[in-house]
């Protein structure tokens, strides 16, 4: 080993797992024959002793207890905030779910009222559709059309988009809940909200109701 090599490893002589540690014996041998390297070895040993003394002097050092107290207080604040955030998140999720359910319910209600859901199983009709041989829409209960009951003109439904249906569409007489009239844009609040009403619907070729008129039970139209 030469002096340059000695100098490159001398600071690792006491560190296990290093090259210097592996070569320490030959380093010591070299130091015995070289005053300069012997002095360097002595100085590094002195440095190691000094560092160990500093380490020992500092070994009991730690932050004062108030630091831990403050950190634990912060931890409690964070925990409270975390709980609050969770509660808020749950409330928000429940509110969203409630709003979604309400919207779905209303949509279903209007969809049913507007004659959608043709695949819905219709209750067994006591009297099948009579007029013009058109198919029933399947939403309201279908009843017989009685010509004497025609008392007023038809009123186009808000979403009606097939004017030709008024000329060529099928007329079906139905009995349906009063509340369902709202879905046809009729002033349901002005009427009794319970019970059923009888109405004639003009249905287009695809089965969509296009116009309505109410038929009083005594045979006279209310509209």
């Amino acid at each position: 080993m030469d002096c340059a090599r000695f100098e490159s490893i001398v600071h690792e002589i006491e560190r296990p797992g290093t090259e210097g540690f592996a070569l320490r014996e030959s380093a010591f041998e070299h130091a015995e024959s070289c005053d300069c390297c012997a002095r360097l070895l002595m100085e590094t040993e002195s440095l190691d002793a000094g560092l160990r003394a500093v380490m020992a002097a500092a070994s009991a050092q730690e932050a004062p207890p108030r630091v831990e107290t403050e950190l634990l207080a912060e931890m409690r604040r964070q925990k409270a905030a975390l709980v609050q955030r969770r509660v808020r998140r749950q409330v928000a999720a429940l509110s969203t779910a409630a709003v979604a359910l309400l919207a779905a319910g209303l949509s279903l209600h209007y969809w049913k009222g507007s004659g959608g859901g043709s695949n819905r199983p219709a209750p067994p009709a006591e009297n099948p559709v009579q007029a013009h041989g058109a198919a029933a829409t399947g939403t309201p209960n279908v009843i017989d059309v009685d010509d004497s009951a025609y008392a007023s003109s038809f009123r186009a439904l808000p979403y009606a988009d097939d004017p030709s249906a008024l000329e060529d569409g099928a007329v079906v007489r139905v009995e349906m809940p009063r509340a369902a009239l709202a879905s046809f844009g009729l002033p349901v609040a002005a009427m009794e909200s319970d019970g059923t009403v009888r109405a004639d619907l003009i249905v287009s070729a695809d089965g969509t109701p296009e116009a309505i008129r109410l038929v009083p039970r005594n045979g006279a139209s209310s509209e």
Binding site: T18, L40, G50, M55, A63, V67, E68, L71, M75
Partner: protein
């Protein structure tokens, strides 16, 4: 940098994320002394060391998910956070940097302050000598000599450039392996090794100077007589 993370630390951190106070207290009590000492050796000031320790663990409370077990140990992560806080402080307040040569309670040896500081100056014998630059032998001499050594070495470490000081603190004073230090410093193992070699050479040089000065002073006093 292939440190394996203690599974226990990962579990403790999960509990901390769920607001478990006991888990935090356990991590704090286990890890804070090393962080505090690191900050103290680096800053040379107990107030800064306390602040940095508090900030490190505050960061852990506020965002425990910042620690990525795949990147190293929790200890290494905390040292890294401490290092960043120290750098921020130095940027904000340059006068705290020991390199500037200003008075520095810890690296100067300091005085007893209730935190275990040794009340002896690091600059040599203070009146307890025999007038020849050598202190008289007394029952307390060993302790005095040890305190002087501690003071001198601390001061020498404190005047090292920051990059060198941190490897000395981690590898020598906290007894970390090269791998652990590299993980904490976020640099290659080879860099740690070369910096430590250079830092130790600088320390030898710095510790040689006062010794030579004292020797010269003693010779000067002898010839004056």
């Amino acid at each position: 940098m292939t440190q394996t993370t203690d599974l226990r630390d990962v579990l403790l951190l999960r509990r901390i994320a769920d607001g478990d106070e006991d888990a935090f207290a356990e991590v704090y009590r286990q890890k804070h002394p090393a962080i505090y000492r690191f900050a103290l050796h680096m800053a040379g000031n107990t107030a800064v060391a306390e602040d940095v320790t508090q900030e490190v663990f505050m960061a852990l409370i506020r965002d425990p998910k910042r620690f990525d077990p795949a990147r190293g140990t929790l200890g290494g992560f905390l040292f890294g956070v401490a290092r960043n806080h120290l750098r921020k402080r130095w940027e904000q307040d340059r006068r705290l940097v020991a390199m500037d040569g200003e008075a520095d309670e810890w690296h100067e040896g300091g005085s007893a302050n209730g935190h275990g500081h040794i009340g002896v100056s690091g600059n040599g014998a203070n009146g307890s000598g025999n007038g020849h630059g050598m202190p008289a032998q007394s029952p307390g001499w060993d302790e005095f000599a040890r305190a002087e050594t501690v003071g001198r070495v601390r001061q020498a470490v404190g005047t090292l450039p920051e990059n060198y000081r941190e490897v000395v603190v981690l590898c020598e004073l906290e007894e970390m392996s090269y791998d652990e230090a590299a993980s904490a410093l976020d640099c290659p193992v080879g860099t740690v090794r070369s910096r430590l070699h250079r830092a130790r050479a600088m320390l030898v040089e710095k510790l040689r100077e006062p010794r030579a000065a004292r020797r010269a002073s003693a010779v000067g006093e002898g010839t004056a007589r």
